[in-house]
Every structure is written in structure tokens, then in C-alpha cells.
Symmetry: C2
Subunit: 208 residues, 2 copies
DNA sequence: TGTACATCAGTGAACGCGCGTTCACTGATGTAC
DNA sequence: TGTACATCAGTGAACGCGCGTTCACTGATGTAC
């Protein structure tokens, strides 16, 4: 079945990649060791040469997702000095991920019940990822406040959560309609409303 | 095991109730026919006197959830004439549901992957519920626009989705932290931002 | 350069478990006479 | 009012399936001499 013997490090990467793809396609629930093995070109038991258990694979997969999320934010920060533009960049990157199905993300699987119900360790893992990510968003918001672009009478946490609120319901609709819902269009429209909510309101008379 | 023989109609109600409670506690994934039977005081096979299959139970459960969602909106509409107050009422009712764990809702189970992945019929069912519900929200928004309270340059759909965006991430945090996250406080803070986003912006100078 | 050996990726059969579902049965309930 | 019977809720054993995991094995790869 296997084309060739490969080093454990190579196989581990392949297995995580396969698990990510499968989870993105069919949800973590449907992620079976057998399916991962098939995709990698191994027999199910072969997986256990490289991972201790299915839980182990999922933990590695979560770590990979965290890396991608963080890379996303870092890229957005590199390319934008303006905090508001930076947030928008993060948003659009996520929407792209969502559409491409590249990353199992929100709410598909990472924040889906399967991931953490009845598995306290994994729940802590997901919470840690979520917290890290939120901390990045809060930080950007704080900078916007310092620069006087964003409302000072607002907790960064609240703004960060609302930012999330643009992505998650869009993701739900995207999946429920099997890609029929135009997430990009929605994200742009919602972004405008989000800006109205978080930016310092301009006195219209000062514009004239 | 059963205390007494009961009519199928009574048992059906009991079974749906039990399924709802269990799904709210442990997620749809962990919902087993055996657990439902135990809770009702029957033997697993006894369930099949009243439902054709587990899928049938879940369909009935989804219908029940839809009823509750709609009842929620109707109550809010009855008690509020002002569209904005009405939306706030819907929001706070949902947050209460979330805290009480009474209704399996968002994202816990209804919009969780398990519910619809690999089950097109059920996905359509969930989509129908979601669409009905969104239609109610859109309707309230439209009224607000007609009355000149809410921005006219905004699609009701976008506002309704953002409204959802207050609840869903809050629900995620609530579950990830096992109830440690203060959803009520968050909802109130987010509501203020939401208002800033959707209401017609007031010229500050006109207030003086 | 060639041979012997250790290492370790990959295999396939098998096991155990949980779970949805079936089926022949039991026995209580309520109705017809 | 009492008896016979049909109906149907509830039972328990059993089945089949998918799936994660184990384990003894095979055989290729690379290293030591």
C-alpha cells in the first residue's frame, strides 16, 4: 500500500495535513484514523507508528491551526500600520480561509462541540488557542484606541468579540448553504457596520 | 424498569424533553438512544415503540427548538413596540436560555457540525430553522428602518447577522470556560456597540 | 567493496467497545359482549 | 357487573457495524565491520 518507507517526521506532517483536509471537508466528527491512513497511503495500523493515538493527532492538528491563525495575524500586522486596516485585513484573510476550506476554523470543527465535549484537556487546548487569538485582536484594538481612531469608552474585549461575530455566523451560513451564501459580500457589509460601532463618531458638522 | 405504561403521545414528549436536556448537557454527539431511554425510564429498545429511529428523535428535537425560538421572538414583539427595544429583548432572552442551558442553541449543537455534516436532510432542516429565525430578525430591523430609528443604508440581513454575532461567540466562550465567562455582561456591552452600528447617527451638535 | 546486523516503517488479522436497531415475547389496559 | 379478547407499551437478548487500538510479523534501509 505504501509507496515507500518514509521518516516519522515526514509521515507526521503528512498525517496532520490529511487530518486537516478531512476535518475541513467532513468535520472532526467524521475524522477517522482509517480515512487519514487511506489519504496518506497507509494502512490504519500504520498510523500508530507515528502517533500514540487519535487524540494525539487531533492535538497536533489544533497546534497547526493555532500556527496558521497566528501567522494570519502577523501577516496582517506586517502589511498594515493603521489598526483599523489591520483588523480588516485579518477579517478578509479569514473569510478567504473559510471559502477555500483550507483551515478548519470557525465554527466548523474547532469550536464545534465534538472538539471539546467530554474531553477537558482538549477543551483547555481550544480555550488556549481562542484566548491567544483574542489577545492579538485586543492588542490591535488597544492601539487603535491609543491613536484616537477607536472609541475609548469600549472594552477591547467587546470589540474583539464583535469582530468574531462577523465571521462566525457567516461561516455557519456558508456551511449550511453549502457555499451558496456570499461570505465575502457579507463580510464587507458587516465590516462597514463594525466600523460605525467601534470608530470614534465624527461630528458631521466638522466635515462641512 | 418503566413505572407504568404510558400513551405514545406522552412518551414522545418525554423522549423529546430528555433528548433536549441531554443534548444541552453533553452535545448532540453524545446523545445516545440508551441515554435517552435511561432518562425516560425505559429500556433502549422501548424507544422504538415511539420513534422510528434516532434521526426521527433529532428531527422532533429540532422542531421543538424552532418552536422555542419563535416563541421567544413573539414574546419579545408582544412586549415591545419599539423595534430596538424588541431586538434587545430577543437578545437578553437568548442569553438567559444560554445560561440556563434550557435550549440547545448556538453554537452548541444546533449549528455544530454533528448536526448536519453528512446528513443533507437534516442540514436543510437546520437551514430552514435558521432562515425562519433570521426572517423574524430582518422584519424587526425593517420596521426600525421604516420608523427612521435604524440606518436606511444597511441591509436588514447584515444587521440580523451581526445581531447573531453577539450571541454566538459569547456562547462559544461560555462553553469553553464552562460558564466562567460572563455572557450577560458581554451581551450588554456588545449591545451598546451594536446600537452605535445600526442606529441613525445623531449629529452631536443637535443635542446641545 | 561486500557482508551481517540492528533499526524501524509498514502490514494484516484480530479484539473490544459502544451503539443503533430488530424481534419474539410478556403482560397490563381498556373495550365489546 | 363480569368475562374474553384485542391492542399495544415495555422487555431482554442478540445482531451488525464502524472504529480505535494491539500485536506479532515482514522486509527495506542504512550502518558497522
Amino acid at each position: 500500500m505504501a509507496e515507500a518507507k518514509l521518516d516519522t517526521e515526514v509521515r507526521r506532517e503528512q498525517i496532520i495535513d490529511a487530518a486537516l483536509t478531512l476535518a475541513a471537508e467532513h468535520g472532526l466528527r467524521r475524522l477517522s484514523v482509517a480515512a487519514v491512513a487511506r489519504r496518506v497511503g497507509l494502512v490504519p495500523s500504520g498510523i500508530y507508528r507515528h502517533f500514540k493515538s487519535k487524540d494525539d493527532i487531533i492535538a497536533a492538528l489544533l497546534d497547526r491551526v493555532e500556527q496558521r491563525l497566528m501567522a494570519n495575524v502577523e501577516a496582517a500586522r506586517r502589511e498594515n500600520v493603521d489598526p483599523l486596516e489591520c483588523l480588516k485585513s485579518v477579517l478578509m484573510r479569514h473569510i478567504r480561509f473559510l471559502r477555500e476550506g483550507k483551515v478548519i476554523f470557525i465554527p466548523r470543527t474547532i469550536f464545534s462541540d465534538d472538539v471539546h465535549v467530554g474531553n477537558p484537556e482538549r477543551r483547555r487546548h481550544v480555550l488556549r488557542i481562542f484566548t491567544h487569538y483574542m489577545e492579538q485582536l485586543r492588542q490591535i484594538v488597544r492601539e487603535g484606541q491609543t491613536q484616537g481612531l477607536l472609541r475609548a469608552d469600549m472594552e477591547p474585549q467587546t470589540a474583539a468579540m464583535m469582530f468574531f461575530g462577523i465571521i462566525v455566523p457567516a461561516g455557519i451560513m456558508w456551511h449550511l448553504t453549502d457555499g451558496g451564501f456570499d461570505v465575502t459580500r457579507h463580510a464587507l457589509k458587516a465590516w462597514r457596520l463594525f466600523c460605525a460601532a467601534v470608530t470614534v463618531s465624527v461630528d458631521p458638522s466638522s466635515l462641512q
